[in-house]
């Protein structure tokens, strides 16, 4: 019984991690940016959905849509206001740009986090779930919401896969992650590709945030740990490898769930961190890392 419970819970949380990590990897793979405001964007999306559905009373579907839209807009703001400016700066040496972008996105994330805390307090909030009730799977009573979460995560990831592999625009994005100069030489404006990628990333992070809000709830304090777990997963799987992130998300998700159930919820983050340390020492480029 416990086994099935762990399996199901682990699957749901891992799927959520996978969605968040996919976005994080996408941005890094195409633009080379490690966005440290990732968690803040997710939380902002969740809080926006909560505010819309709850206080403004638009209902759970519209609320969720509002949340995803918030994620998208915030992501574009991150790109235009913070990242692009630094990437184009003449006053910073090329080798230092990465560090500046890391610091700036970190600061930006803190700003978002504090703004949320100021406007809505730092109490935990749960977003109005779209799906209610409890179902029984192999004898385990599971909230329907949990199944919903896993399903939506995979549908989104699937949609992304279709986009990248089957549409012209998506292939341009994929090509840009392989060779940005090649894309320019073929007449595609890289600047347009970048805007598109940040928009997609925003939608992914927004969706992940809203789902998390429905499933477990968020608070402004969640922003940091969310970013931390996203990049741990991405580093574990290999920076720039989407399939690596997916696998790593499940490894981390299940490690956490197993620890929470079998040892204690307070220690759940430890094994994943230890694994990360081992990987850093033994194989720094991760499971399937390219760069």
């Amino acid at each position: 019984m416990l086994f099935w419970q762990i399996l199901i819970d682990g699957f749901a949380i891992s799927s959520l991690y996978a969605l968040g990590a996919t976005g994080f990897t996408l941005i890094f793979g195409v633009t080379g940016v490690l966005n440290l405001s990732h968690g803040a964007i997710m939380v902002a999306a969740a809080v926006a959905a909560w505010a819309a559905a709850g206080s403004l009373g638009v209902g759970s579907y519209l609320g969720a849509a509002f949340g995803v839209l918030t994620g998208l807009l915030l992501s574009l703001a991150t790109y235009f206001l913070v990242v692009r400016r630094l990437q184009r700066s003449q006053r910073i040496r090329e080798e230092e740009k990465e560090i500046f972008i890391l610091t700036a996105t970190l600061l930006w994330g803190i700003m978002i986090q504090e703004a949320i805390a100021y406007l809505y307090t730092n109490n935990a909030k749960t977003v109005l779930p779209i799906v209610d009730g409890v179902v029984s799977i192999v004898g385990v009573r599971t909230p329907a919401n949990e199944i919903f979460t896993a399903v939506v995560c995979w549908l989104t990831i699937g949609a992304l896969w279709l986009f990248v592999n089957r549409t012209r625009a998506g292939k341009a994005v994929l090509a840009a992650s392989m060779n940005p100069r090649g894309v320019t030489l073929l007449g595609i404006e890289l600047s347009v590709v970048y805007v598109a990628v940040w928009a997609i990333y925003g939608a992914l992070a927004g969706t992940a945030g809203v789902l998390l809000g429905m499933f477990l709830g968020v608070s402004s304090y969640s922003a940091g740990p969310l970013t931390a777990s996203a990049f741990s997963i991405v580093v574990l799987g290999g920076l720039g490898s989407v399939s690596g992130s997916l696998i790593a998300a499940y490894v981390v998700g299940y490690l956490e769930t197993l620890t929470a159930y079998l040892v204690s919820p307070a220690y759940r983050a430890i094994p994943a961190l230890l694994l990360l340390v081992v990987v850093m020492y033994v194989r720094p480029r991760g499971l399937l890392g390219r760069r």
């Binding site: 700036a104 600061l107 100021y118 983050a269 850093m280 720094p284």
Partner: protein, 309 residues
């Protein structure tokens, strides 16, 4: 040339500033003194960070790993056995230096964003460990330390100021010495530094150890000022961010600018406290604005007028 360094503007301006600062206890309130005392310790945190980043070109995203090791080791030792303070401080420094070496080993083998990530992970691990081993460390509530260096505001202030001045002198001196030159070359282009006959790994490791030494020492001393060690003061990532921002704000690769930036940041944060939750937001916003608009930092803005960088 040594004479030229000693008489250069940054040095005598700093001397004047320190002299003026040492007279503050005569006419300034205890509250301000306390604020500045902490600010000066942060000044040392930022200077130690700048040595590593500005010179060896290694971005340490978790300076609080080293600071926390120093602070908590000293604090735990004191709360368990109450040995003399200097023994605890020495233990803290030892722990921080050991941590620095452990961090340096994988760090020096990887490039680019991986190193920054390694340092960030180290902080998370330390934080989790402290929270989990609560009986030993006080967990999230914090650890009360039985001894303090002094209960007098003025004495604590002078100790902190003196410590910052001494650390600043040593770190700045290092940065301008031949060793500092080698470190800069190693950080900027490891291949060319190797071709000039320098063992880059050795020098970067040394930079780590020095950075760890001062971070740990400052952390341990600060514990015996505050009388309390907590995750929120010494280990949390946001504390680390403050350290980094202080250094970047002041002007990277200047050492002295780092102290300036850190003090400025703490003072600003305190001045904005009446605004409540908005304070952190505003401080972050200002720091972000400086990063975006003045990448050379405060000192960079001043220098830029005088010479081409």
């Amino acid at each position: 040339m040594l004479r030229r360094i000693l008489l250069s503007p940054p040095v005598w301006i700093s001397l004047i500033v320190v002299l003026v600062a040492s007279t503050l206890p005569l006419y300034v309130s205890g509250y301000v003194l306390g604020l500045l005392t902490i600010a000066y310790y942060f000044g040392v945190f930022s200077m130690a960070w700048d040595l590593l980043f500005g010179f060896a070109n290694e971005v340490n995203f978790g300076p609080t790993f080293l600071i926390g090791l120093g602070a908590y080791t000293a604090g735990i030792l004191d709360s368990l056995y109450q040995p003399p303070i200097f023994v605890c401080v020495a233990a803290g420094v030892f722990a921080a230096v050991t941590g620095g070496i452990v961090l340096a080993l994988p760090a020096l083998r990887v490039r680019g964003p991986y190193f920054g990530l390694t340092t960030l992970v180290a902080v998370l691990i330390l934080q989790n460990f402290i929270v989990v081993a609560a009986e030993l460390t006080g967990g999230e509530i914090g650890l009360t330390v039985p001894d303090v260096i002094s209960i007098d505001d003025k004495i604590n202030y002078w100790i902190s100021l003196g410590f910052m001045a001494a650390s600043g002198a040593i770190l700045y001196g290092l940065s301008r010495s031949p060793v500092g030159l080698i470190l800069q070359a190693s950080g900027q282009d490891a291949v060319q530094a190797g071709a000039l006959g320098f063992n880059v790994t050795k020098h970067k490791l040394a930079a780590f150890i020095v950075s760890a030494f001062f971070s740990g020492l400052a952390g341990a001393l600060m514990v015996f000022y505050l009388g309390v060690a907590s995750v929120g003061t010494f280990v949390d990532v946001t504390v680390g961010v403050q350290v980094i921002i202080g250094a970047v704000l002041g002007g990277r690769r200047t050492i002295l600018g780092a102290a300036l930036g850190a003090v400025f940041l703490i003072a600003m944060g305190e001045a904005l406290r009446p605004l409540g939750d908005l304070a952190t937001f505003i401080v972050s916003a200002i720091a972000l604005a400086v990063v975006l608009l003045f990448p050379g930092g405060l000192l960079g803005m001043v220098k830029g007028a005088r010479e081409a960088t």
